[in-house]
């Protein structure tokens, strides 16, 4: 049975992730890569999920499409997709290989991966790969799929799309391949696009072109975007909202301008101060120490051993702080001292 919870669709929200927990069971114990993540994405808007290596941002995005492989598993939480076409679906409730999951993947929600090389099959033409997505999700024949595919290639700026359609990925440059990947992801007009570090492997001028293309197509199709990135520059330029992750949890969430200009969580503050262009002095401010391993998450607030504002007895004991509304509109912060720390 497809786990359709309800048919009443909240009009302005496309995705609601509630208390998502994705754990990896290993010989060394259970690693909580994502541990109680809650956020939502508004229709047509872009949410950036930002953090350093190992913070769980990619695991969160893979969980949404149920791409987590063993020994990982979704240990709890809900992933509610409020689709305008298919009603509300809890993606977390699907069995692996259930037909409903295939309807979601590439149809209602699609994904762009970091490596344009590995995201494409080297033994199929790009046309076959784009047509495959169309034939899976739309009731059209092969001739029509070809026409739609060529039209999509033209839209993403591939020159001579009729000829390119029958070429293999190795015949194209890295920039062209990333355009093909974007064409493949958006050809079925998904309601949500997940972009996992889509420009990290690209040079700066190519990065600008690809980010511009995603933005243009987002307006055209009207989809929402979940942008996974470690680059706060990309966040500033493309996101409407930001959620900052640290050790499997969101520590601060809010409108992009507010978070980047007036960060409230000490981790966000430290992250922003580490960026050279936001520094004024000769020396860069940096966060002391390094991210602890998931096997040894500190008690209390997981950030407290590196935090300049940590207070013994309040920050280092008990359960990790949860996101609470801050003084600014729509901002939530997971810090017990949020009201006491000066806002920069």
């Amino acid at each position: 049975m497809p786990p359709v919870a309800t048919t009443s669709v909240q009009s302005d929200t496309v995705l609601e992730v509630v208390d998502l927990r994705t754990h990896f069971v290993t010989d060394d114990g259970t690693l909580p890569a994502v541990d109680g993540v809650t956020f939502s994405i508004k229709r047509g808007r872009t949410l950036a999920l930002v953090g350093e290596s190992g913070c769980g941002k990619s695991v969160t995005s893979y969980s949404i499409l149920r791409l987590i492989q063993k020994p990982g598993r979704i240990a709890g939480g809900r992933i509610l997709l409020h689709s305008a076409r298919a009603g509300t679906i809890d993606i977390a409730q699907f069995n692996d290989n259930s037909p409903g999951l295939y309807e979601v993947r590439g149809g209602l929600v699609s994904m762009i991966f970091q490596e344009p090389m590995t995201a494409l099959s080297p033994v199929h033409t790009v046309g076959d790969q784009i047509a495959e997505a169309i034939l899976l999700h739309q009731p059209v024949g092969e001739a029509e799929a070809r026409r739609l595919g060529i039209e999509m290639l033209r839209k993403v700026g591939v020159s001579a799309p009729e000829r390119r359609f029958d070429q293999y990925p190795h015949e194209m440059s890295g920039g062209m391949r990333q355009r093909v990947v974007i064409a493949m992801a958006l050809v079925c007009r998904p309601e949500l696009l997940i972009a996992d570090e889509p420009t990290t492997a690209l040079d700066v001028t190519l990065q600008a072109q690809v980010l511009g293309l995603i933005r243009e197509l987002q307006r055209d199709i009207g989809c929402s975007v979940l942008m996974i990135t470690h680059d706060l520059g990309v966040v500033a330029q493309v996101a409407d909202e930001v959620a900052v992750m640290y050790l499997g949890r969101i520590v601060e969430h809010g409108p992009v301008r507010e978070i980047l200009k007036h960060p409230r969580h000490p981790y966000t503050q430290g992250l922003l101060k580490s960026i050279p262009s936001l520094n004024t002095g000769a020396r860069l401010a940096s966060i002391p120490g390094s991210v602890p391993s998931l096997q040894a998450i500190p008690p209390g607030c997981p950030f407290h051993p590196r935090c300049p504002h940590a207070v013994a007895g309040r920050c280092d004991t008990g359960t990790p702080p949860t996101l609470q509304p801050a003084a600014a509109a729509e901002v939530t912060v997971a810090c017990v001292r949020a009201g006491e720390i000066p806002v920069s």
Partner: protein, 338 residues
């Protein structure tokens, strides 16, 4: 002013392209580096920036003779000896100079041997060059580990036991134990997370002051370059297109490519808008366009750009740019013809 530590003149590295067939005739050349010229003063940090394939890493490797250049001279003046041309020096004469010039690599995982302990990795250059042994070797290893922010007791551990930032510190210790005067850092902080990147950049600055190091800093992250370098050379398709003091480059970029590059950087400030519409793709170094290699992508291209290769010329503010717009004769003709 003291003479430059390094004078690079007309440096070139051309790779032949062989045709098919038995004889393997040379059918073309990849001009990976072409006519690169610059000076590096003692204690200075020069940034070498550009996109993939611009030749910045090849140029850096030619300077250290990790690759043999096919053209040009690389005059190196270590403070304790006469100037030598690294480009043509025979291998045997090169070895005694190796301790004076060291390299820090991008990838802190693949550049450290997983079967060697940190102590062995850091001591190896001294052992190879027979510069220290026994207790002196131990002392120098312990000393340099402390200097880069590691502990002497870390020497018995293996690289896998360290985080990315710590591994990069091991690579820095291995380079600096030779007490070099020139350090080439090839994307030394690119693989690091931003908070760790800040720690390593601070460390490199501190070590530069302590050991009077001269850095050739190869990077693609313009934000890091702006913070870290004194002067910047921008490379495009194997050539330097602009060479400028860092402040001048970021406030008054002279070459249209530099301007395009800077406008496409996503600055972490929502009020500074980036351009999403920089046209075209980076030129293929095996099929360079005639004239200026950037002309097919350039919005200010005019007649000579299509036929005449521009040389680096004075463009004001201490900047040298390879662009006909800054050639008074060409610019006057451009205005006259409208």
């Amino acid at each position: 002013m003291s003479p430059p530590l390094l004078s690079v003149r007309g440096l070139g590295k051309h790779f032949p392209i062989y045709g098919r067939g038995f004889v393997r005739k040379v059918t073309g050349l990849v001009r990976a580096v072409d006519e690169v010229t610059f000076d590096l003063a003692p204690g200075e940090t020069l940034g070498l920036v550009g996109e993939s394939g611009s030749g910045k890493t090849t140029a850096a490797r030619c300077i250290l003779r990790a690759l043999t250049p096919t053209a040009g001279t690389v005059l190196f003046r270590p403070d304790d000896g006469p100037a030598v041309d690294l480009a043509t020096l025979p291998e045997r004469a090169l070895k005694p100079l190796r301790p004076r010039m060291q390299m820090i690599f991008q990838d802190p995982i693949s550049s450290l041997n997983p079967r060697m302990t940190v102590g062995q990795i850091v001591a190896e250059p001294l052992v190879i060059h027979r510069l220290a042994r026994g207790a002196e070797l131990d002392d120098r290893v312990a000393d340099i580990l402390r200097k880069v922010g590691l502990k002497p007791e870390h020497r018995s551990r293996y690289p896998h036991a360290f985080s990315g930032g710590q591994r990069q510190r091991i690579g820095i210790a291995r380079a600096l134990i030779m007490r070099p005067s020139l350090v080439v850092a090839d994307e030394a902080v690119s693989a690091l997370d931003v908070s760790v990147q800040a720690q390593v950049l601070n460390l490199l600055k501190d070590l530069q002051a302590e050991f009077r190091l001269t850095y050739l800093f190869v990077a693609h992250n313009l934000d890091v370059v702006r913070h870290f370098c004194d002067r910047v050379a921008v490379m495009y398709a194997g050539r330097i297109v602009e060479l400028a003091p860092v402040h001048e480059l970021f406030t008054q970029p002279k070459h249209p490519y530099t301007r395009a590059l800077l406008s496409a950087v996503p600055w972490p400030d929502p009020d500074v808008k980036m351009r999403f519409d920089v046209p075209g793709e980076v030129a293929d170094p095996s099929r360079l366009p005639p004239g200026c290699a950037f002309h097919p992508r350039c919005g200010e291209c005019f007649a000579p750009c299509r036929t005449l290769r521009p040389e680096l010329i004075e463009a004001g503010g201490g900047t040298r740019a390879a662009c006909h717009l800054h050639d008074p004769v060409q610019a006057a003709q451009r205005r006259a013809t409208g």
